[in-house]
């Protein structure tokens, strides 16, 4: 039976997200009956073709899952393989990994804040259109993005799919003198990052909050390349226990698998979770910027994630500068990682959230099985739940306006569909 108030909202191809996804929302009267984030990004089967590969290959191969966060894949892969082989990479090599990761955070966050997310708040279809009216602002964003890319180019050889990362460390470590010009670039970037927080704090944020359990790594420093998983619900576990605590399941509308807590419900990973669980570990400058932007001890409004990303850019720039200032070249670019028959787990903080890898190595050192759980598949259930409540409170809007706002609500999460496929088309159905 079709009511006059039955509506279907559809977005066939979401814009300003990484990869191919769609939205479908069906409303019957006052009831939001179905909300789906359809992921039709073609599957690429990484976990299948990693079998039979050498234990040294996952960093290069899994980087190709995502051109936006290749370093995250390289870092989780290295950590997992090294764990399997019983090797710990520490000292300057670990700091250099953190520095490379800072570069990726700066690049990826600047991309999302300026090119993908801010146009929603300012009423433009994209940054190129935004630049027609606000060129200096977009130029600032591009300058920041470039600073992140420069870190990756110097340390990694190139910004997309860096070549210098290997299991055990690097192929070549930089001399102190190579990092000095980087520090100059980063000092300018620090001013740009602080200006970004101030700029974004002036946006108008819809009154909307959620109560998802948050999951993020926690460590001595703000989490990037390692740590213990903790949740706002009091869970605490290591990467080795990830699959005991998190279960993935398949839904028909998605080539991404959905993850939830084993025996529990949905959860959210990413900048909101990371900030809320690690605020005390921000650098003083980043914490002050968060205070000035009005971010409290935790952030529960996904629209304000743009502020958290801006604060994390400040942190990443600060941290990169700290690492460069303290850097002393290690005696060798990598530690040996002889393979053995074992299983290893890795979890690091990709810009979009916790990225988990597992490798089972055989007696010949070849990979027998691989498991990769990217942030967007973990977040998909929480995103759909947000959408459901967001739509329910805004049924007075016409289809065009409501659809547009739903798309914005999805972009709050910076979903990375290329990553999660194994993940998104927005359709609103008011049947």
């Amino acid at each position: 039976m079709t009511h006059r108030n039955d509506r279907t909202l559809r977005v066939g191809a979401l814009a300003r997200v990484e990869g191919e996804g769609a939205m479908y929302v069906r409303v019957r009267g006052r009831n939001v009956e179905e909300v789906r984030l359809d992921i039709y990004e073609p599957p690429r089967f990484f976990e299948a073709f990693l079998r039979g590969r050498a234990h040294t290959e996952p960093p290069d191969i899994t980087a190709r899952i995502c051109g936006i966060c290749p370093v995250a894949y390289q870092m989780s892969a290295c950590q997992a393989v090294e764990a399997a082989c019983g090797v710990t990479v520490d000292g300057p090599l670990r700091d250099l990994r953190r520095l490379l990761y800072c570069g990726e955070w700066i690049e990826s966050h600047a991309l999302h804040v300026y090119l993908l997310h801010a146009p929603d708040f300012l009423g433009y279809p994209g940054a190129v259109e935004l630049a027609r009216d606000h060129r200096p602002v977009v130029e600032r964003g591009l300058r920041l993005k470039k600073a992140g890319n420069t870190v990756m180019e110097v340390l990694g050889g190139r910004a997309i799919h860096p070549v210098n990362v290997r299991v055990g460390g690097f192929y070549r470590t930089p001399e102190r003198t190579e990092l000095v010009p980087l520090a100059e670039t980063l000092r300018r970037a620090r001013d740009d990052a602080l200006a970004t927080v101030e700029w974004a704090a002036g946006f108008e944020f819809p009154d909307f909050t959620h109560d998802h359990e948050y999951l993020a790594l926690t460590a001595e420093r703000y989490p990037l390349e390692a740590g213990t998983l903790r949740s706002t619900g009091g869970r605490a576990f290591t990467a080795a226990d990830f699959e005991e605590h998190v279960t993935e399941h398949q839904v028909p509308h998605s080539t991404a698998l959905h993850a939830h807590f084993t025996g529990g419900g949905r959860y959210l990973t990413g900048p909101l979770a990371r900030y809320s669980l690690n605020r005390d570990r921000l650098s003083p400058l980043a914490r002050e910027a968060a205070d000035r932007a009005g971010l409290g001890p935790e952030c529960r409004n996904p629209f304000r994630s743009i502020l958290v990303r801006a604060v994390e850019i400040v942190y990443a720039v600060d941290e990169a500068l700290r690492i460069i200032a303290d850097y002393r070249p290690p005696p060798r670019p990598a530690v040996p990682v002889p393979p053995r028959r074992a299983t290893g787990h890795g979890a690091t903080e990709a810009p979009r959230g916790t990225l988990y890898h597992r490798y089972d190595l055989g007696p010949d050192g070849l990979i027998q099985a691989a498991r990769i759980i990217p942030p967007t598949s973990q977040n998909q259930a929480a995103i759909e739940d947000d959408l459901r409540r967001f739509v329910a409170d805004r049924l007075h809007l016409d289809d065009h306006d409501l659809t547009h706002r739903c798309e914005q609500a999805i972009r709050n999460y910076d979903p990375c569909i290329s990553c999660s496929t194994h993940f998104l088309d927005l359709t609103v159905d008011r049947s």
Partner: protein
């Protein structure tokens, strides 16, 4: 929250129009366009970027003067879509190893894709996919192919600038070895015995790996036909001093289908060290792969 977005009235239809399309890929090659931080706004003044999903929610209808296509064809729906893209594009330029060679996902071409799907998905029947991952040129005429996993930013700008100026792009087709000489790199194979695919790999990256003390791993694919010959894979292999299995793996990554084809054309193997007919690595088989 802003007003609904619409195309802006200051659109200048006399500028050439540019569209960017994505098929099976990691988004890295189209990100390369956004990574042209110094050139992006200038470029946006020279061409009208009318369709670029990753960068803008405005999407103008074709036809387009230039289409940049990222990704490989892996689903029946995408096969239909690439034909449409070709029909609405004056020039179609493929960017990156997925679009020019099928990408790393072409490893499925040498395996059982149903078995692959069963390893990743509990209900493989929900997943629609073709048995092979194929380059764009296997399905529609392509005007220019830009290689690399990922493509090089400078080369992308060169290709776009050349199109705007109405000239041929200067994209040298020699091997990575030439770039090592230009960059002044020490030869990692001669000096350190590090296996390097540079002699048989298409130039374009600027010889990054050897500059970082690592052997080239072939992410730009095989160097093209030179004087009517194929890259001398057979001549290189004994130099690599790798086992047959290692050789198979190193040739079976982001341009697996292209290296495979080049090796087949090079003829049958001659010695035990030759593995140019290298089969890509296969999983241990059986079980659920865990």
């Amino acid at each position: 929250m802003g007003r609904p977005t619409e195309d802006r009235p200051d659109r200048r239809p006399e500028r050439p129009t540019l569209a960017v399309w994505k098929f099976a890929s990691c988004d890295g090659c189209q990100l390369t366009l956004l990574d042209c931080e110094d050139e992006l706004l200038t470029l946006a003044g020279q061409v009208e970027i009318v369709h670029f999903r990753e960068a803008s929610s405005a999407a103008g209808d074709g036809p387009y003067d230039v289409s940049l296509v990222e990704g490989s064809i892996t689903t029946a729906a995408d096969l239909e879509r690439i034909r449409h893209v070709r029909a609405v594009s004056r020039r179609l330029i493929t960017i990156g190893a997925c679009a020019t060679a099928g990408g790393v996902q072409a490893l499925r071409n040498f395996a059982d894709v149903a078995e692959f799907a069963s390893v990743v998905y509990a209900r493989p029947e929900y997943v629609a996919t073709l048995a092979d991952s194929t380059p764009i040129a296997a399905h529609v005429p392509v005007d220019f192919e830009l290689r690399g996993c990922p493509i090089d930013r400078r080369q992308l700008i060169e290709v776009l600038a050349a199109h705007l100026a109405g000239r041929r792009p200067h994209v040298p087709a020699h091997a990575v070895c030439f770039e090592c000489k230009i960059r002044g790199n020490l030869c990692v194979m001669v000096a350190h015995g590090t296996p390097c695919l540079g002699p048989i790999t298409h130039a374009g990256c600027g010889a990054i790996c050897p500059a970082y003390g690592r052997g080239c791993y072939g992410c730009f694919g095989p160097s093209p036909a030179w004087s009517g010959t194929r890259p001398n894979t057979r001549g290189l292999l004994p130099w690599l001093e790798m086992t047959e299995e290692e050789t198979r793996r190193v040739l079976s990554t982001f341009n697996v289908a292209a290296f495979h084809e080049a090796a087949e054309e090079a003829g049958p193997p001659e010695g035990p060290a030759s593995a140019e007919r290298a089969e890509p690595p296969r999983g241990p088989g059986g079980g659920d792969g865990r």
